[in-house]
């Protein structure tokens, strides 16, 4: 499943262009649409419809919500060239069929090509899941209001880990 990921590599995955301070979406499908729209606008994916279809099918396999207000929609597609990670927050919370039934506030979307040179897809998934198991971190990220603050919170978490 690829080698473990360092905190530095992990932090380098986040991009200002792919940061959504507050999602407009009102339901599960709209969340995915909003992310895919952004990825397409930023030229990280080449066909919106194919990517959205893939993400919806992945949700059909089992919700990508992990509980505790966190969801990590993800999947591989031919229509991207490199691994991308986008972040979006929903302060109000949104039903995403989470295993604990709680609304989701923090969304990390991961899109990966079939296989990268150093396949960082599963390590990235694992790292986000591991980081956000901590309640304190989830609460902090929920308070951030811009990308710089978001990265600061993640960096200080990485340093203290």
């Amino acid at each position: 499943m690829g080698r473990p990921m360092t905190n530095r590599e992990f932090l380098a995955l986040f991009e200002k262009e792919l940061y959504i301070p507050e999602l407009d979406a009102g339901n599960k499908q709209e969340v995915l649409e909003e992310f895919v729209e952004l990825l397409h606008r930023e030229e990280r994916v080449f066909d919106k419809d194919i990517v959205l279809d893939m993400l919806l099918k992945r949700e059909n396999l089992g919700s990508t919500a992990l509980g505790n207000g966190l969801a990590i929609p993800h999947g591989r597609t031919l229509t991207t060239r490199k691994l991308v990670v986008a972040f979006g927050k929903c302060t109000q919370g949104l039903d995403f069929d989470a295993p604990d039934g709680k609304p989701v506030h923090l969304f990390f979307l991961i899109i990966a090509p079939y296989r990268e040179k150093q396949d960082q897809y599963l390590p990235t998934l694992g790292k986000i899941a591991e980081f956000f198991r901590k309640k304190r971190l989830r609460e902090k990220v929920l308070q951030v209001s811009n990308f710089e603050e978001f990265v600061d919170v993640l960096s200080s978490e990485a340093e203290s880990a």
Partner: protein, 121 residues
């Protein structure tokens, strides 16, 4: 049961890419790596149903050649990037670029036979 309708090569190719993405998802679901990360994987049979449905919508001859290629290679549809087939890494003749780009026909790599898909320059 829906039967495949005549659709444009561009649409045929998009359906084929969807099918390939889905085939990979089904393969990866069965090795359960994600389960170990805490994700619930419970709908494999739903995906297999969706796969059947999707396959039915694809032009039969194209589907056949996709399935034949898949038995031979890990991926049947590959991107062309900077003029190179990303399946075999051979240069695709410049004379073919426009046809592949426009997706007016479904083209295969002259060297490896994989189905080519243009992903932007």
């Amino acid at each position: 049961m829906s039967s495949p309708q005549k659709q444009s090569p561009r649409e045929d190719l998009r359906l084929l890419v969807k099918l390939q993405d889905l085939d990979l998802m089904i393969r990866e679901a069965s090795v359960q790596q994600e389960k170990n990360l805490g994700f619930k994987i419970e709908g494999v049979s739903r995906l297999q149903e969706a796969r059947k449905e999707l396959a039915r919508s694809i032009e039969p001859r194209l589907l056949k050649s996709y399935e034949r290629l898949q038995r031979r290679y890990e991926r049947a549809v590959v991107p062309v990037y900077r003029g190179v087939c990303l399946g075999c890494f051979m240069t695709v003749p410049i004379a073919h670029h426009q046809a592949i780009k426009s997706h007016k026909t479904v083209r295969v790599c002259e060297n490896c036979g994989r189905i080519l898909c243009w992903l932007g320059d």
